[in-house]
């Protein structure tokens, strides 16, 4: 018994003995998703205000959201700055976990040239009329294709999805699949399905939030998706963005949908075998997913909100965004319209065209949760475990039950 207590005391005292840094009261804590553009911004946050220490923790999105969910649901005063995507932010706001930015936005509008952000970009992050997120990136799904292979076959990029399906089939071979599909549940699958449902079907929901993905048109849209995947690469049901990017870079696929942030790496000699051979265009028939990332302030933080706002405004400043231009699509008008940046980044024109024609995810806080079982059903349909109509009807039923339990469909 004596031993045990002494050991415990030793364990607790260990940090002091070893000199591990005690958490200083002033250090600001930030949690975020990780990809190159966000790493760049994290670096900017760390150096935003001299004398203010910012500790940035970056990790894959599902873990970041997990951690933030666990902490904020317990009303913890850490983290202070939290990553928010155009979909995740709604859940957080609905639960009262984010602080509105309207007052701070007005106060610092001049200092950080905040009018440079187009209203459309800001609207993405408004809920109940209040702004909650400082936009840092825009992202859009584009259509990637191997220009060299299409030229060789005398074809031009498809303008309809049906055309994409046929072209993929004609260029399909065991060693190089005609299409690259990324249908790993949940996020990758949601992204790709989004395109089909919005371009060919009736979308995810109707105006009253009843499922619209099992209408006859939508069922046909998913049938088309299933058709396209006949020319897809092996393992496409577990492929997320990485695996798809590798598929292009290792010359094992011809065309498909992918995020614009992956474009630059196609020409990187340390990663790609197909330098200069890929080209991009807006997704046939438009309506592919557009999204964005940004940062919000926790409602439970004990730090000075002005300080927190200045940090995220600095990382989203004009100068900062300019530096990141090759890693993302900047939300700021001044940066987006800069001709020199267009020249430096081959993919910009297609990215802009894709963005203009794109459709954001439904403004439903429960969208990510619903995505979990809907994509499960869609994958069942695509792999032939069940017919498309049966799977989608089942998903619609589950969705209605879920939403009803969350207070929708009143009256």
């Amino acid at each position: 018994m004596i031993n045990r207590r002494r050991l415990l005391q030793a364990a607790i005292a260990a940090p002091a003995i070893i000199g591990a840094p005690a958490r200083s009261a002033g250090t600001i804590q930030m949690i975020s998703h990780r990809y190159p553009a966000l790493e760049y911004y994290a670096e900017k946050m760390r150096t935003a205000i001299p004398g203010v220490a910012v500790n940035t923790q970056l990790m894959p999105i599902d873990k970041a959201i997990e951690l933030a969910t666990i902490a904020l649901s317990a009303k913890s005063d850490t983290p202070d700055i939290v990553y928010a995507s155009d979909t995740t932010f709604q859940t957080f706001v609905k639960n009262g976990w984010f602080r509105p930015l309207d007052d701070l936005w007005a106060r610092y509008a001049d200092e950080f040239a905040l009018a440079d952000f187009p209203q459309a970009a800001l609207d993405t992050y408004r809920y109940d009329g209040h702004l909650y997120v400082m936009p840092h990136t825009l992202n859009t799904m584009m259509f990637f294709y191997r220009k060299d292979l299409l030229d060789q076959a005398g074809k031009s990029p498809p303008v309809t999805i049906a055309g994409y399906r046929d072209l993929a089939k004609s260029l399909n071979s065991p060693l190089r699949s005609g299409s690259i599909n990324c249908l790993k549940p949940v996020d990758a699958a949601v992204n790709e399905t989004h395109w089909y449902l919005n371009a060919l079907g009736d979308g995810w929901f109707d105006a009253d939030w009843h499922p619209a993905f099992n209408t006859p048109k939508s069922v046909a849209a998913i049938e088309m998706l299933k058709d396209v995947t006949r020319s897809a690469q092996q393992g496409f049901t577990t492929a997320a963005n990485d695996e798809c990017a590798i598929a292009y870079q290792q010359d094992t696929g011809v065309m498909g949908l992918q995020w614009a942030t992956r474009a630059k790496a196609m020409d990187d000699p340390a990663k790609s075998r197909i330098i200069g051979k890929i080209d991009w265009t807006a997704p046939p028939q438009g309506h592919a997913r557009i999204a964005g990332d940004g940062y919000a302030i926790s409602a439970f933080s004990k730090q000075d909100p002005d300080v927190l706002f200045r940090i995220i405004a600095t990382s989203a400043s004009q100068a900062s965004m300019r530096g990141a231009a090759s890693l993302l699509i900047p939300p700021r008008k001044s940066v987006l319209d800069d001709p020199s940046l267009r020249d430096a980044n081959r993919f910009y024109p297609a990215a802009l065209a894709s963005y203009v024609a794109g459709t954001p995810a439904p403004k439903l806080p429960e969208f990510n949760a619903i995505g979990e079982f809907v994509t499960r059903r869609i994958l069942q349909a695509v792999t032939g475990e069940s017919t498309v109509k049966v799977a989608l009807d089942a998903a619609a039923g589950e969705t209605e039950t879920f939403l009803k339990g969350h207070g929708y469909y009143k009256g």
Partner: protein, 274 residues
């Protein structure tokens, strides 16, 4: 156990062959950590390439994984010390109880291990937060000890049950009190078992991910959490993960090499009695 030499050699080759195949994922991961991404995932797989140590260097120097190694070490060692000492005492107590009571208690303890790990994360987090222990070492250590106890106690009890009753009786006749019987008589007999329990506790604590993710903060982050932070929005991240993974294996491997002799003997003597 003398057999013909040829049989011995065949047996050895078969086992060695199995071992090599078994090690392929690790070897391949190691090779990936030395390649540029374009070579790492090429088809057919490349065995000849220009090696680069940049990812290993990035992991240990740039990303300063040595900080996390220190955290992991502190937490693992603390867990082992607390868990083994507490578990041993509990196991001793159990071993001297009647068979039925002890079996019931044992089974109850095991309930912890039968419950999905991931669901325990939330209660532990709430508990730690209420006590203000997030981002401190004790939080994670206590959680790990709690989860590890069933296994530790079960294992150690097996060793204690082996101790012949005559030894206890002799000691009591000699006038030893309860503590002395435990420390002077029982402990020395089960010493090999302590090594085994220590190793498995160490492995559990060192490799634990979910609890570490939830209960540690920037100052106390452990290696598994640090590695998982490079999920994969960029191929480079995979190469980094590979380099980090190989790196963090080394301390445990060295530990095992040093203690191999004790381990086998310990397992042999004790676990047999379950």
């Amino acid at each position: 156990m003398r057999r013909g030499r040829t049989t011995q050699w065949l047996l050895f080759l078969a086992l060695a062959g199995f071992t090599t195949i078994n090690l392929t994922p690790i070897i391949w991961g190691f090779l990936i950590s030395l390649k540029q991404p374009v070579d790492a995932f090429s088809v057919p797989p490349k065995l000849i390439f220009n090696p680069t140590f940049e990812f290993h260097e990035q992991v240990w120097v740039e990303k300063a994984f040595w900080r996390f190694l220190i955290n992991s070490a502190i937490i693992s060692i603390a867990t082992v010390v607390v868990s083994v000492s507490a578990g041993t005492m509990a196991a001793y107590g159990l071993s001297r109880l009647s068979n039925l009571t002890s079996r019931g208690l044992l089974f109850g303890l095991l309930a912890m291990r039968m419950f999905p790990h991931i669901l325990l994360a939330i209660p532990f987090f709430l508990l730690a937060k209420t006590l203000g222990l997030i981002n401190t070492y004790p939080a994670l250590v206590l959680a790990l000890v709690a989860v590890n106890q069933p296994f530790t106690i079960w294992l150690m009890r097996g060793f204690f049950v082996d101790v012949p009753h005559e030894l206890y009786e002799a000691a009591e006749i000699d006038g030893c009190n309860a503590w002395q019987v435990f420390a002077r008589v029982a402990l020395p007999v089960v010493r090999p078992g302590l090594w085994v329990t220590a190793l498995f506790s160490l492995l559990l604590a060192y490799n634990e991910f979910l609890f570490a993710l939830v209960l540690t903060g920037p100052d106390t982050k452990t290696l598994p959490v640090a590695i998982a932070e490079y999920g994969g929005e960029d191929i480079n991240y995979w190469s980094l993960s590979a380099a980090a993974a190989i790196g963090i294996m080394l301390p445990i491997v060295l530990f095992m090499m040093a203690l191999q002799r004790h381990l086998v003997r310990g397992l042999a003597l004790g676990a047999v009695k379950g």
